[in-house]
Each structure stands twice: as C-alpha cells, then as structure tokens.
C-alpha cells in the first residue's frame, strides 16, 4: 500500500516523518479531512490563534499530493435598517 505523509501547519510546522499506509490518493484526502476535523474538534481555538490550519499531504516521491486549508473568514454583516 502506498505511504502518505501528513504535514501540519498550525502556526508552527510539524513534519510527519513516519507517514501512514493508505489505499490510494482518494483515501489520503479523506484521511486528511478527518484528521483536520479531529484537530479542530480538539482545539477549535487553533483557527483563531493561528489564522488557519493547513495540512499538506505528500507521497513517497516527496511530491505534494493534496492540501487542506481551513480558515475563518471575517463575515460580519448587518441587515440594512428598515429591511
């Protein structure tokens, strides 16, 4: 099974040197999303603190396979007075 590496950028850079064996690219993407979800679930403040979460997935060739970015956007808005 191919090996994929999930590198984390949440303010600081964390390199995954060991990687995980997964079926294929689609599985790796799914795992990246689940991984990101798990991290955010544990520590939602991470997005406020670090202005975003990024997970880069590389494969055994060292090439970038896919990336996941989660960010809060400033979306304050008020309805105009009078509807």
């Amino acid at each position: 099974m191919p090996r994929y590496f999930f590198h984390l950028f949440d303010g600081a850079e964390e390199i995954d040197a060991q990687g995980s064996e997964l079926d294929d690219d689609a599985s790796a993407l799914r795992e990246a999303i689940r991984f990101g979800g798990g991290l955010l679930s544990d520590d939602p403040d991470m997005l406020v603190r670090d202005k975003g979460l990024r997970i880069n997935v590389t494969d055994e060739s060292g090439g970038l396979n896919c990336a996941l970015i989660v960010q809060i956007v400033d979306a304050k808005w008020r309805p105009p007075p009078g509807g």
Binding site: L8, S20, E31
Partner: protein
C-alpha cells in the same frame, strides 16, 4: 526510572518486549490456571475451597494467532475461555464496515462470563496478539458457580469492573482530546497489566498497531500517528520503527489526568 513508586514496591526493568504469563508461569498450586485464580482474588475474596474448585475444573489449552476469532457476534457460546497469555479484544462493526474495539482483555482475564447469563454474543471476541487460552465447558462453569455464592459474586464483580472500564472508555472517546485520550488508554493498560503481574514493568511494549489504536480511540490513524509523536516529544513513550513502548508512566499519568477509581483496584469483597 520512575521515582513515583510506592515504598517497598518491587521494580524490575524488562528490556525485552513484554511477553508475559504463559511463557513464564510461576510455580503455583493451581498450575496453568494460577493466573486466572489470581485475577479473581484480585477483586474478590475466595475461600481456599472455591479456589481449588475452579482450579480443578477440566480444561483444554488452545493457541490462536492474531485476529483469530474466539467468539463471533450472534453465536451461542458453549465454552468459557480464559486468557492465559497474550491480549484479546472485543470488537463491533457498523453496517458500513466501521470497526470499533470496545474492550481489551489482558492475561488472566476471563473472556466471556457474560455467556453464563446471556444467550448470544453481542460482539466479536478476537485475539489481539498470539494467545493461549484455557477453555472450559460453559456447562461446567455454570454448575460450579450455581451452589457457590463466593464464586458467583466473583463472576459478578468481574463483569461489573469490565462495565466500569467501559464507562470510562465512553468518557475517553466522547470528551477527551486526542493527547489525553491516548495517554489515558496507555496508562490504563499498563496499570491493569501491572496489577495482574504483581510488579511494575519498565518499557512495556504496546501490543496494538496504530490502526488498532485508531479503531479503539475513535481517531484516524493519521491523528494517532501525530499524537504518538507528541507523546514521544514529552518523553512519555518511545517509538522504535512500528513499536511503541511506555518510557515514563508518571508523565503519561499527568497528561492523562488519570484517576484510577474506575479500575476498582484494592477492591475488598465483603463475604467469604
């Protein structure tokens, strides 16, 4: 080197991967079943007569490979297995194939007291590592326990403690963050193993793969991998290729915010 040991506690560093009981069965007047009797008396007082009665039940020895089924969901049990060496797990599988390990069993543990009372298995019981089982006929155990209140109580307490551990697992998976969650499980496993071993164990090697830890803790293997990395950075565990061993239980205990009430250790039973 742990500096947290209670006074007078024996500490022996075991460098080799943890491989225990079955390999080195201490001379015990109950022979191969000694570890099973020790497990029962660890939480329940049993008269010498009750202990002798258990130890003289006929049994056969069965060896299984990792992931071999001991009992399948839906089956009606006819045997009562006890783990003599190695580790086992209970697992349930969702309709879309999702696996959840719902319990871990360690050497000395009876694996299916439940079938003394319930009709069908509601989960799969499988070997985690290579295991050695003592196999009793379920009928023999039923007949033994019926007229012996001390034994019946020990069976009940064993089931209750497993249920308590299950409740803690629910909290663990439901509410703890990944680092605390993983640390907690590792702590629990070491404490349970040390209890039956009767001594502290240095360099305890985890019998679970990362995939199995993921199936147990409700995290993806990628997250498990990263959390192991964090625990290693804290000095709590050591990783050598695929093997994880516990380096510093005190640090693990602190990260896990561990409280051992749910393990019901030092449980003294009322009536002999």
């Amino acid at each position: 080197m742990s500096c947290n040991e209670p006074e007078g506690h024996v500490h022996r560093e075991i460098d080799a991967p943890f491989r225990w009981m079955g390999d080195a069965v201490q001379a015990h007047r109950h022979g191969r079943l000694g570890i099973f009797v020790r497990k029962l008396i660890s939480h329940s007082r049993l008269s010498a007569d009750d202990q002798a009665a258990i130890a003289s039940l006929p049994f056969s020895i069965k060896t299984l490979e990792p992931n071999d089924h001991i009992l399948r969901e839906g089956e009606r049990a006819e045997i009562c297995p006890v783990l003599l060496s190695g580790f086992a797990y209970r697992q349930k599988i969702s309709a879309d194939g999702g696996r959840q390990i719902v319990a871990l069993k360690i050497p000395g543990d009876p694996l299916d007291f439940q079938s003394l009372y319930l009709d069908r298995a509601d989960h799969n019981l499988q070997a985690l590592t290579k295991v050695e089982l003592a196999i009793f006929a379920l009928k023999d155990l039923e007949n033994l326990v019926a007229p012996r209140p001390g034994l019946a109580r020990a069976v009940l307490v064993d089931i209750l403690i497993e249920a308590s551990i299950g409740r803690e697992w629910l909290l663990n998976i439901g509410r703890r963050n990944a680092l605390t969650r993983l640390a907690h499980l590792l702590c629990e496993l070491l404490y349970r193993v040390e209890q039956i071993a009767g001594e502290t164990i240095g360099n305890f090697e985890l019998p679970l793969t990362q995939e199995q830890l993921a199936d147990l803790l409700g995290l993806t293997p990628v997250h498990i991998n990263r959390t192991l990395r964090e625990l290693e950075k804290e000095g709590a565990i050591r990783r050598v290729s695929r093997r994880v061993s516990i380096a510093d239980i005190a640090t693990l205990h602190r990260i896990a915010q561990f409280s051992d009430i749910y393990l019901h250790r030092n449980q003294s039973s009322a009536v002999v």
